[in-house]
């Protein structure tokens, strides 16, 4: 019945062809071979070129930490009134970065965003390493590191408990929970791929090690059923954590009385900022990875970059909204101290701000620079995306610096105002955490499958029995 058919054709819009999640109709075997090859092949020269400096930086950063612990926090630039500065800035910076991974793994998993599969492994690894770096700062910023166990609710003869009213304590719990759940989630996802590597391993050592960590995975149905249930549960557990960790981190500031900190908008604003910064860091790592491993371009496609750029645009704009809302509330409150903090100390409209330049760096990096992602050509240009991501990385660091230092440096009593500048120890400790982060990531790239092979395979066209066969008609890879 041609008339009906034409009617249907007329009323139903033509389905636009979606860009495939895996390009070039790569089959299951191709995926296995190419992803495993990264960890199976010989160590490339560039890897050593990157790894050794990173390890050196990490070592020097550790030395700086040793120096700081043995001499006192005074080797940093902190003072009265700036009791926190780079330490907590770096902490919030890294913990923010650690948000994208779990967001991608958990929330996108629950919302069935299939494009997450090719990036979630690397993003989760990045999350863990970022949280490792983040965890260093609250640990070492205290004056007496050796007493830091007072933070733990250990029953003791004095009957002294931690102060459950303190957001800093909530922080300890939130961050450690987040790290634990993220680690479990990541590891659970790794198990099938570890088994693949075990099965392909050529040396006894690697077979043994991959074998131990693969936990006896057989790929049986029972395995898969349990795996998928565990993965789903962990995704469910992680989802509230994505929102809670940074909310709790923001409570450190929001529950205080200091103008610039005492802000109810902080929890959503911090979460948005964390996702914003986290995605920027994911792209910062995956774009170069795509360059050194060209085969990954079929798995991490322009479509992935495009989607992440859109998330950056969205969250960057939310953050911008929060910035403007802070200004409005400061004005609307009629509170001289709030007004001073936002209009003088941050914006520097009367030239009285000590760190107004940092506010404008933050504004440009976080609010202005992502706006270029309204344009598709920009989202599709890896160089532009990479550059904007660097702005975002820097901007998010400056956001925390602005919040922490400008608020503390100029608060209620003008008599106690004071400048802050970092010492070399602080600067190198921060650089050292990049060394730690990158060293860990390079080790991850070298020894573990960067792409969640088993998950990517699920989103290949072949994995969908109901889909049309592609025109070339290649069937399911029998050699799986």
């Amino acid at each position: 019945m041609p008339s009906t058919e034409s009617l249907v054709t007329l009323t139903t819009p033509t389905e636009l062809e979606r860009e495939p999640l895996v390009r070039n109709q790569r089959g299951v075997r191709w995926i296995t071979d190419n992803v495993s090859a990264i960890s199976e092949g010989p160590t490339p020269f560039w890897w050593w070129v990157l790894f050794l400096p990173c390890v050196l930086l990490a070592a020097f950063g550790t030395l700086c930490i040793g120096y700081q612990i043995s001499n006192g926090v005074g080797v940093w630039g902190e003072n009265h009134p700036n009791g926190w500065a780079w330490d907590i800035t770096n902490f919030v910076f890294w913990i923010g970065i650690g948000h994208a991974g779990t967001l991608i793994s958990a929330i996108l998993f629950l919302t069935r965003q299939k494009w997450r599969t090719s990036i979630n492994r690397a993003a989760e690894a990045m999350t863990l390493f970022a949280v490792v770096c983040a965890g260093i700062f609250p640990g070492i910023h205290v004056g007496r590191v050796w007493m830091a166990w007072f933070l733990a609710p250990v029953p003791n003869s004095n009957g002294i408990w931690p102060n459950f009213r303190s957001p800093l304590l909530w922080d300890v719990f939130a961050v450690s929970t987040y790290f634990t759940v993220s680690l479990l989630f990541w590891y659970t996802g790794l198990v099938p791929d570890l088994a693949t590597l075990r099965d392909r391993a050529k040396t006894r050592v690697s077979r043994f090690l991959y074998g131990v960590f693969a936990l006896g995975w057989r790929g049986s149905n029972r395995n898969w059923r349990h795996y998928e249930m565990a993965y789903l549960l962990l995704a469910g557990l992680s989802t509230p954590l994505v929102l809670s960790v940074h909310s709790v981190v923001s409570f450190d500031f929001a529950t205080s009385v200091i103008p610039g900190w005492h802000t109810t908008i902080f929890p959503p604003y911090f979460v948005a900022g964390a996702i914003f910064g986290g995605f920027a860091m994911v792209l910062t790592i995956l774009i170069p990875a795509q360059i050194v491993y060209p085969q990954l371009r079929d798995l991490i496609t322009k479509g992935h970059v495009d989607k992440m750029a859109k998330i950056i645009l969205l969250t960057g704009t939310i953050v911008g909204y929060a910035y403007l809302m802070e200004l409005f509330i400061a004005y609307y409150s009629g509170n001289v101290y709030e007004k001073f903090t936002f209009f003088s100390a941050r914006m520097g409209i009367d030239g009285k701000g000590y760190y107004s330049w940092a506010y404008y760096v933050m504004m440009f990096c976080n609010v202005i620079s992502p706006q270029i992602f309204w344009f598709k050509w920009a989202r599709n240009n890896l160089l532009i995306v990479f550059v904007v991501c660097q702005f975002v990385n820097a901007g998010m660091w400056f956001e925390r610096f602005v919040i922490i230092v400008t608020s503390l440096a100029q608060d209620f009593l003008p008599s106690s105002w004071g400048h802050y500048s970092p010492s070399w120890v602080e600067i190198w400790t921060f650089i050292g955490t990049f060394g730690i982060f990158l060293s860990l990531f390079l080790l991850f790239m070298r020894f573990l499958p960067m792409i969640a092979m088993s998950e990517v395979k699920i989103v290949t066209p072949e994995a969908d029995p109901h889909a049309h066969s592609p025109t070339t008609g290649v069937g399911v890879d029998a050699h799986h």
Binding site: V75, P81, G143, I160, G334, Q410
Partner: protein, 1056 residues
């Protein structure tokens, strides 16, 4: 309590010897070996008679167990201080004992009591029974305890720089004196003290060596005041200002309220007239004319900036005006001033003074030229103040040679032996004397000094001087009463006291402290035939002899002589536009340089400039802008052919074209604290112009110098209505019954009622501690800061760490300037002491993750140091920013080693400094937070005492105002009051109930336990600018909404 062993006769060296065992008697090597094995820690003590600083503590009292065996080591039979070999009934280990003494200063002794614990003096307080102190003290007395323990003090007798001992010195001295003959070749240079014993010894010396030269060298106290007084009132007569009787006071370049050494009496008399209690309160009115802000200027109701060199012209103009109004002949034909001043200012001030005839007072600074001071007396005479607000007092001190005359004698080779006792002329003699070469040209120089300093260099002999807390002596307090100086401890470094030394020179048979003083005491107080028993002990117990204050004497103003002297005096040059005057002033901290090695004083911020660790040339912001310099820019100052390079610091309120430089810095030979601090201004000082010189040129050198200023920001940012509330007396009188007047200013005028979601545990102890700080009385002298530092073992952190913003003072003194746009160059100033507010709803407590800072039932915000891990979150969340973090191990490590890699936890603080610490206060380690505790150790002590008193009864209440905290106890003006706010009779309860009382940042709902009392000023409404006075301070720029307070302290109501 005096040490009652004083009357024991000296133990005869050949008398009975008591022994405990045959072994001890025989002193065999076997016995010694056994002894050392038995008491290994003390082994080294059994050998020599030397008292090392290490064993001092054990020996002085802590180890009574050893005392029986080690008596030989520490008993010096010639001294009457006996270690506690047997338990004495008043000494309980760990319990404090108080001894009265006094700190000699050039202005008169500061009467003190010293708290000693187990034989260690640890804290200085004002003597509560002395009328000139009333329990209060000042910065120099408070910090003097640190000098006692200074590890850099001189420890050895030095013969031409080589270590020697006292016996050799005595022999050398005898040899020298044998050849002295009539003493024509002998000369003495001394500090000024008002010690009658020293005067007596001087007479003894002059009796023996009639031609000896005696010279008092006090660079910071020129002779002008004495000369002027002797012309005006006759030789030997000094004016005594009765400031409490004056309704109107005009201070002409006089910082008469500076709280340095023995001036507490004047301050208290002045403050007695500033108290405002009820609506009918009256206040005195203070006019100040000065070249830079002083603490006196900060108290002023009206202040005018005039160069120090132009005060003469100003005084002439004022005299003309007063002469016209009173018709006094002495003030008539003076010839007009060459400089123009704000005429209305002078007219109205003069009218005010004349209106208060007989109840007014004009005070001219001691440093001003004699003619200006005489003119000041003439004005006072015209105002009928002589005999009412100015009375006389006879001085016993006979003037000696001037330094100039002594220098001339040395130049003519008439001096063979120069005794420099205490003073440091190599550093502080006026530059034109060329003292450095002169002293070197004297064949024998004998120096008695606390430190091996500039004047000890090249001396034939250097003798360590005992600190006043180690020596016997006497002095006169500011009211002329006879005060005791008694040792708290044997000389730590084996020094000789000044009077011991002089007695030795005089060849007295008994050259030992107590006898020398006793002799003077008997002559002065005891009268003929008196014996020592009884009254002498009373004298030591009280620290002074009762009823010895000098009686006010009638003054007769010699108008003719004054007029002659004024007429003959050279007129100072008028101020020139393009040159500067240079004013040299003693530093309010290190004085003329003598306290240069005192870390507490070096780190104490200057009350006005907030500069620590250095001096700098104060310059007005306008002049600085003209020169193109800012804080820390080094300039070259050239005046009369002498020059100096020094950094500048811009201080608002300084008159243009004037540089003020503090003396006492740039020492070349001094201990490790004082070295490298500041620039010596003595090269600009001449005998002719010891105070100011004019016509200086100032050139920027382009160099930069790092200054350690503790307060970066000095303006109120329009927050005065919140932070520093004040009003004029008329507004106060109109609103005194309105309890909300001061409570509803600034933010507090339009905030909703504070509510809290969280209810803190109830504070239901019968004691609830609180404090009030009266901004109307606070001078900013900073005695409180030092008292706190001493009481609570607050460390110094060094210049570098001050620059880093890490000073540790628990109590700081915030200084704010405020003005409207037009008055930026001449702002008003207010000083606001800031300390932990002990908030009932404390933001710091909620945020500490480990419960290290919590609230006590008696309302204290307490710190548990050993629980603190140092997150610094509490400090961040403190709206008052009063918490202090130990960024380094300041108590353990020397300040120059803070950054040295310290993996093995190397230490190195000298032991003596540890001995100074208050044993009742924990010494904090690095990495912990600390802050004001409301002297919790004193609270606990009082509570324990109350419990002991209560025995079985239930009444454990501490009696009303039975004790107070260190800052309140030191405060010369009673601006700080501490006590139980639950006790309606306590002073603090009454102060809190005052309508003037308000709390800082009320809108945060922190519920502070510290209240501030608004400042009240008493401007003369006819004065130019009077309508604006106080308005900048109390007027927030918060015009947004809400009811503005009825008035912001403007007599004409509103100034917009």
């Amino acid at each position: 309590m005096s040490k009652r062993v004083l009357n024991h006769p000296p133990e005869a060296a050949t008398g009975k010897k008591y022994w405990r065992s045959l072994g001890q008697l025989a002193e065999t090597p076997e016995f010694r070996g056994w002894l050392e094995k038995e008491f290994p820690q003390g082994a080294s003590e059994f050998h020599g008679g030397e008292l090392s600083r290490r064993n001092f503590l054990q020996l002085m009292g802590a180890s009574t167990a050893l005392a029986g065996l080690s008596l030989g080591a520490c008993r010096r039979p010639e001294k009457h201080l006996v270690p506690f070999s047997k338990g004495v009934e008043w000494s309980i280990p760990g319990k404090a004992l108080f001894y009265a003494t006094s700190m000699p200063t050039r202005q008169g002794a500061a009467p003190l009591v010293i708290l000693t614990v187990d034989g260690r003096p640890v804290k200085v307080e004002g003597n509560p029974s002395h009328p000139a102190a009333e329990g209060r003290s000042d910065t120099w007395s408070q910090s003097s305890i640190l000098d006692l323990y200074d590890p850099d003090r001189s420890r050895f007798f030095l013969e031409s720089g080589k270590e020697s001992d006292g016996d050799k010195f005595s022999k050398g001295l005898d040899l020298l004196l044998e050849k002295a003959g009539d003493g024509a070749g002998l000369a003495f240079v001394l500090d000024r003290t008002l010690s009658p014993t020293r005067e007596r010894l001087r007479e003894e010396i002059l009796k023996k060596y009639p031609k000896a030269r005696w010279c008092v060298h006090e660079p910071a106290q020129p002779e002008q005041a004495r000369l002027a007084a002797s012309v005006a009132f006759g030789e030997g007569m000094m004016p005594d200002l009765q400031v409490e009787k004056a309704d109107v006071i005009l201070a002409l370049d006089s910082d008469f309220l500076s709280a340095t050494g023995g001036t507490v009496r004047t301050i208290r008399k002045f403050m007695a007239r500033r108290r405002v209690e009820g609506p009918d309160s009256k206040m005195n009115r203070l006019y100040v004319v000065e070249h830079r802000y002083s603490t006196t200027g900060g108290m002023a109701d009206h202040r005018l900036r005039v160069q120090a060199s132009q005060i003469a012209h100003f005084t002439v103009a004022l005299a003309e005006q007063i002469g016209t109004l009173t018709g006094d002949p002495n003030l008539k034909p003076l010839g007009g001033p060459t400089t123009k001043f704000t005429e209305r200012w002078i007219e109205e001030a003069a009218a005010d003074l004349v209106a208060a005839k007989g109840r007014s007072l004009v005070i001219v600074g001691d440093h001003q030229p004699v003619a200006v001071q005489l003119l000041g007396y003439a004005i006072n005479a015209a105002l009928g103040n002589i005999g009412t607000t100015i009375t006389g007092r006879r001085t016993e001190e006979k003037p000696g040679l001037t330094m100039g005359a002594l220098a001339a004698a040395i130049r003519e080779k008439q001096v063979q032996a120069l005794f420099i006792v205490g003073a440091n002329p190599m550093y502080s003699a006026p530059a034109d004397l060329d003292w450095k070469n002169l002293q070197k040209s004297v064949p024998t120089v004998i120096r008695l000094g606390l430190y091996e300093d500039e004047s000890s260099e090249g001396a034939s002999w250097h003798v360590p001087l005992a600190h006043y807390l180690e020596s016997w002596g006497d002095s006169l307090a500011a009211d002329g009463s006879y005060t005791a100086v008694q040792p708290m401890v044997l000389p730590l470094y084996g020094g000789w006291s000044e009077i011991d030394f002089l007695a030795r020179v005089a060849g007295l048979p008994k050259p030992a402290g107590p006898e020398l003083v006793q002799e003077t005491y008997m002559k002065r107080v005891g009268g003929e035939g008196a014996t020592l028993t009884g009254t002498w002990n009373r004298f030591l117990l009280d620290g002074f002899a009762a009823d010895t204050a000098s009686k006010p004497e009638a003054l007769t103003f010699n108008g003719g002589a004054a007029k002659d002297a004024i007429g003959k005096a050279a007129k100072p040059a008028a101020a020139a536009e393009n040159t500067f005057e240079v004013v040299l002033e003693p530093c309010s901290k290190v004085d003329d340089g003598r306290f240069s090695n005192n870390g507490w004083l070096q780190e104490l911020p200057d009350p006005i400039s907030k500069l620590t660790w250095d001096n700098a040339a104060w310059i007005s912001p306008v002049s600085a802008a003209k020169l193109g310099v800012t804080d820390g820019d080094v300039v070259e100052v050239s005046v009369n052919g002498r020059s100096l390079t020094i950094p500048v610091v811009r201080v608002p309120g300084t008159v243009d074209n004037s540089l003020t430089i503090a003396l006492g810095y740039g020492r070349t030979k001094v201990g490790r604290v004082g070295i490298g601090t500041g620039v010596s201004a003595y090269p600009l000082m001449t005998t002719e112009n010891p105070y100011f010189s004019t016509g200086a040129s100032v050139k920027p050198t382009g160099a930069k110098y790092k200054l350690a200023i503790t307060q970066e920001h000095g303006t109120l940012e329009g927050r005065g209505a919140d932070l520093t509330r004040q009003a004029n007396i008329t507004d106060w009188q109109a609103n005194a019954s309105n309890g909300d007047y001061f409570k509803k200013m600034g933010m507090d005028s339009h905030i909703p009622e504070n509510i809290s979601l969280y209810s803190n545990p109830p504070l239901n102890e019968p004691h609830q501690w609180g404090m009030t700080v009266d901004l109307n009385s606070c001078l900013g002298c900073s005695a409180c800061m030092l008292a706190c530092q001493a009481e609570n073992n607050v460390p110094i952190v060094g210049k570098e760490q001050v620059i880093n913003g890490r000073e540790m003072h628990w109590l700081r003194s915030d200084r704010y300037f405020a003005s409207d746009e037009a008055g930026v160059d001449d702002p008003e100033m207010i000083i606001e002491p800031m300390l932990c507010q002990h908030c009932e709803n404390a933001p710091c407590e909620t945020v500490c993750p480990v419960n290290a800072t919590v609230h006590s039932e008696d309302g204290l915000n307490v710190m548990a140091y050993n629980r603190c891990i140092g997150t610094r979150y509490c400090a961040n969340n403190c709206p008052y920013k009063v918490r202090r973090f130990n960024f380094f191990d300041y108590h353990q490590r020397p300040l120059d080693k803070l950054y040295t890699w310290n993996l093995i936890n190397e230490k190195g603080t000298p032991d003596t400094l540890k001995m100074r610490n208050n044993p009742n206060v924990t010494v904090r380690m690095r990495g912990v937070m600390e802050k004001c505790t409301f002297c919790v150790q004193r609270i606990q002590e009082a509570k324990i005492a109350a419990k002991v008193r209560a025995k079985d009864s239930a009444n454990m209440l501490i009696p009303t105002d039975a004790f107070t905290v260190a800052c309140a106890q030191a405060c010369p003006t009673d601006a700080i009051v501490f006590g139980n706010i639950k006790d309606p009779d306590s002073k603090v309860s009454k102060m809190r109930a005052s309508p003037r009382s308000y709390r800082l940042l009320e809108y945060l709902n922190t519920q502070p336990r510290v209240s501030y009392l608004a400042r009240i000023r008493n401007p003369n409404l006819k004065m130019p600018g009077a309508d604006r006075i106080g308005s900048f301070m109390s007027d927030g720029h918060d015009h947004g909404h809400g009811a503005k307070p009825a008035a912001h302290g403007t007599p004409t109501g509103g100034n917009h």
